[in-house]
Symmetry: C2
Amino acid sequence: MNPLTDRPSPALLPMGFVDLLPGEAEAEAAGIAGVMEIFARHGYERVRPPLLEYESSLLSGAGEALAEQSFRLLDPASHRMMALRPDMTTQIARMASVRLSDQPRPLRLSYSGDCVQVGTAGRETDRQVPQVGLELIGPDLPAADAEVVAVGAEALDFLGIDGISFDLSIPALVWALLEEVPAAQRVPLVNALDRRDAAAVAQHAGAQAGLFLALIQAAGKADSALEKLEQLDLPEALAGHVQRLRASIEAIGKRVPGLKLTVDPADFRGWRYHTGICMTVFSTRSREELGRGGRYLAGNEPACGLTLRPQALLRVARLPVPRPRCLVPETLPQASREALHEAGYATVSALAAPESPGGESLSEATRALARKLRCSHVWQNGKVQVL
Amino acid sequence: MNPLTDRPSPALLPMGFVDLLPGEAEAEAAGIAGVMEIFARHGYERVRPPLLEYESSLLSGAGEALAEQSFRLLDPASHRMMALRPDMTTQIARMASVRLSDQPRPLRLSYSGDCVQVGTAGRETDRQVPQVGLELIGPDLPAADAEVVAVGAEALDFLGIDGISFDLSIPALVWALLEEVPAAQRVPLVNALDRRDAAAVAQHAGAQAGLFLALIQAAGKADSALEKLEQLDLPEALAGHVQRLRASIEAIGKRVPGLKLTVDPADFRGWRYHTGICMTVFSTRSREELGRGGRYLAGNEPACGLTLRPQALLRVARLPVPRPRCLVPETLPQASREALHEAGYATVSALAAPESPGGESLSEATRALARKLRCSHVWQNGKVQVL
């Protein structure tokens, strides 16, 4: 897409906000509905938190990590600051720990909605970000991690997206190791890690250089990555992360045999609220992330979630087949319209129709009108005729 | 609903913003999906404008009427003010006249999304307002008005909402008559009209008092209201409004025989951008407005639209039947899960299941777990068992 030519007036909409046209909007809605249907089949129940909340609530606790991505606005009713949500996971966590605290665990929740992010200065990114996701709140078990991955993979499969892989990481492990590095070296080390620049990592990681380089080199298929990680001399408090990673990978393998799993142990991106295993979803059809998720604390409770990005799914999913359009006279009775709807047609009324010739054949004027209104069929003399 | 007791912490969310819980959120989503399905059957195609736009674009032209209901925020990327949309009709009009200007007319568009309104100080109203609507852009015809009413009525019927009536009005006529009144009297007259306070109307309307009182008194069933309106001595420029009202009412009667139609000629509320016939939708099941719409200008083009309010529909619609939940062992193969989904069950994995007794009967532990997770069925020994 060329942003200079595809948008007639670049000044019309703020950077990162777009109009979805017919076709695009339908595909997005169908994709979200499909994902939510799969979530529902596995017992996930829909909730809908509001678009904005008080800053003090939305951006506290785990939400602190979101502060710099949030637009704020003043509530004239309370004279308090509100923030547009940049992410929904923290809202679901709040609902789970307050409104739904008396519901039995495991609590399975799903959601879909728009988030708004400030974006990065100078970078053209989406700022209105639809999300569709699920959260499994309660059990801190490998089987719970596996369920989140399995249901996410099934949703992508349902949309006709193939070549799926889940890339696993443990950002909490990386952040813990970064604590061991002298404070002055952390920012350059984080940047070096982000680029997977081995030389710069070695330069800034000091005594931990061997460990950080080993994390980078361990990246790859899940089995081989696990083997490499298990040979590392990690501090005892962190070795548990690797043990859990193996248990979760084994649980995923049992639940979704054949799913492609990779591990990128040097990955530490994303929201800072994750406490354990994290996952990023890719398809071989695209370089773009299709979603991400992982383990975090919902209040004081263990939770694992996955958020898919409908805008990314849209670019690789099988598109819904538009229903055929049938031109009908404005005077067609409702019962006949309903019969056409039952048969799968959209009825398009000719509000100011040309006179029907009355015969079996379609007049040129009718054909022209049908073509203009993108109708493939015309209702005439009590039946559907192909244009 | 008692706002003091129904919300555990009133300070948690800003006034007018709510969490929808499981059940509520599902009902809202199902209602929106149902309405959009009916719109699609009649050839309306979905578009999705962004949640926010530059103030200069969103609140110009017809959008000026929305300015006082809009939250504004600064775009750090462009240093320009943006506004959260309080309404979607003006966005659809913008899309029709810019991005979709080369599409043939009539252009039929549908949309659903959240709007955010500043609200009225001291009044507890929803401020996050979901909307679902349709716009018919191009023909300025009674048949077009009738199509919008017919498709809206069908959508409500599809949701199981009965006792529907459409209350028609012509705010543009009232505003034009208000221009005839001395400026100093207009505000008290508008307030008097809003209360349908005949004495106060007579006091402030001066020479126009007879006309304004006649408008109030004409309210009622469409046929009798039309007769009364046609006897009024309206300025010639305004008499056309009444002629068009009759033509539209006749077209609606042909398209939806039996639909209850009323006329309230003194009604002038709502957005100020309407130029012709307006409609407010009610059901005998509720005093609340279910939606409203009318005729306006999309850029320079005649257009007629209707916006339904999912939150109001939700309170009167037939609720979707939740799918039965079946407790399954975590190890259940995917093929068995899919068979249960096909049969209409949601599968709920017992992540840390009690040992199965192996026999035909359900153990007490299994029963207790199923009950806890609100499952009506349990998968055991290769089949579904009722709890």
